[in-house]
């Protein structure tokens, strides 16, 4: 009884807060000074038609570095906890895949890879970027795993790609300190023509590194989940 009363009181309190918020809500039509600066001068300063990309990569470059680091930590923790130990019995229980999914995966995996590369290289022109492109590349690996359950991703290649792209990402940032305005400044390379692929300075380079790193990390996580492990519970 008392418990129900408490629940009702909490729900009523939340409803009151929500209703006041809802009535006082209005579209804010004016931009803050920082947003005005981005909207007016962002395209000219960075040279990327997609303003979101220029904010994410250049103005807020440190945040992107932090996100990539968090993903790296997640990948290492997952691979630390999910050690792979094969049990022969479980593998025999698996049903074989059908012809159709094998053919479809042979057809689709190259298309999906190219799509992922397109998404992160064109990050400064179209919506998308390193994280989305990396996720798409990881799904190509999932498709391979689906078609062939015994397929093993080569962990050595993946770790090499991941480390090289991570180091290159930071190195581009350090070059930004030496040659241009600051860490992760994109004016290391010439800005180029507005709206072409090789423009906007170092943004396509940085996004390619981010995309490769995210893609290899996510496929590492997924391949760790895929293995059959000995339970100790």
């Amino acid at each position: 009884m008392i418990r129900n009363f408490f629940i009702i009181a909490i729900v009523a309190g939340l409803a009151a807060i929500f209703v006041t918020l809802f009535w006082n809500f209005g579209d804010s039509t004016t931009l803050t000074p920082l947003a005005t600066h981005y909207a007016d001068k962002g395209a000219a300063e960075v040279g990327a038609p997609n303003l979101v990309t220029s904010i994410v990569v250049t103005y807020r470059g440190f945040d992107t570095l932090g996100e990539v680091t968090i993903l790296f930590l997640v990948a290492s923790i997952v691979s630390f906890f999910l050690k792979r130990e094969k049990l022969q019995k479980d593998i025999e229980l698996k049903r074989e895949t059908s012809e159709i999914i094998l053919t479809a995966s042979k057809l689709l995996v190259p298309i999906v890879m190219v799509l992922g590369v397109y998404v992160f290289i064109n990050g400064h022109l179209t919506p998308g970027g390193g994280f989305q492109g990396g996720a798409i590349i990881a799904t190509a690996f999932v498709l391979l795993l689906m078609a062939n359950p015994d397929f093993k991703i080569n962990h050595r290649i993946i770790s090499i790609v991941e480390s090289v792209s991570g180091i290159s990402f930071v190195l581009v940032g350090v070059f930004g300190i030496l040659l241009a305005g600051g860490f992760l400044d994109n004016k290391v390379l010439p800005l180029g023509t507005f709206g072409k692929i090789f423009s906007a300075g170092a943004i396509p380079l940085i996004y390619s590194f981010v995309g490769l790193k995210v893609g290899s990390e996510l496929s590492n996580i997924l391949s760790n989940f895929q293995g059959i492990q000995k339970e100790e519970m």
Partner: protein, 86 residues
């Protein structure tokens, strides 16, 4: 004229999403729900194409491609899970 027809088409797509939601709740098994999810995704891809027309920004089609790809993989994963052979 063309705009009015496209608006009617958008309304019909929305209706089909709502109808597949009904199937999601009246489902007999998990497979039913997954089929409803699949139909919802496919209808949403068409809806995204229409939205890109209404907003006047054809660049939104990129989102539809990625949407289709990832939902396809989701359905395949669920199917393998149901077969107990993931």
């Amino acid at each position: 004229m063309a705009n009015i027809i496209l608006q009617i088409a958008g309304g019909i797509m929305l209706l089909s999403i709502v109808l597949s939601t009904f199937r999601f709740f009246k489902a007999g098994s998990l497979v039913d729900r997954v089929v409803a999810f699949d139909v919802m995704t496919v209808a949403s891809i068409s809806l995204i194409a229409l939205i890109s027309h209404f907003a006047g920004r054809t660049i939104y089609i990129d989102v539809a491609i990625i949407y289709g790809l990832l939902s396809f993989l989701g359905v395949i994963i669920i199917a393998r899970y149901l077969e107990k052979s993931l």
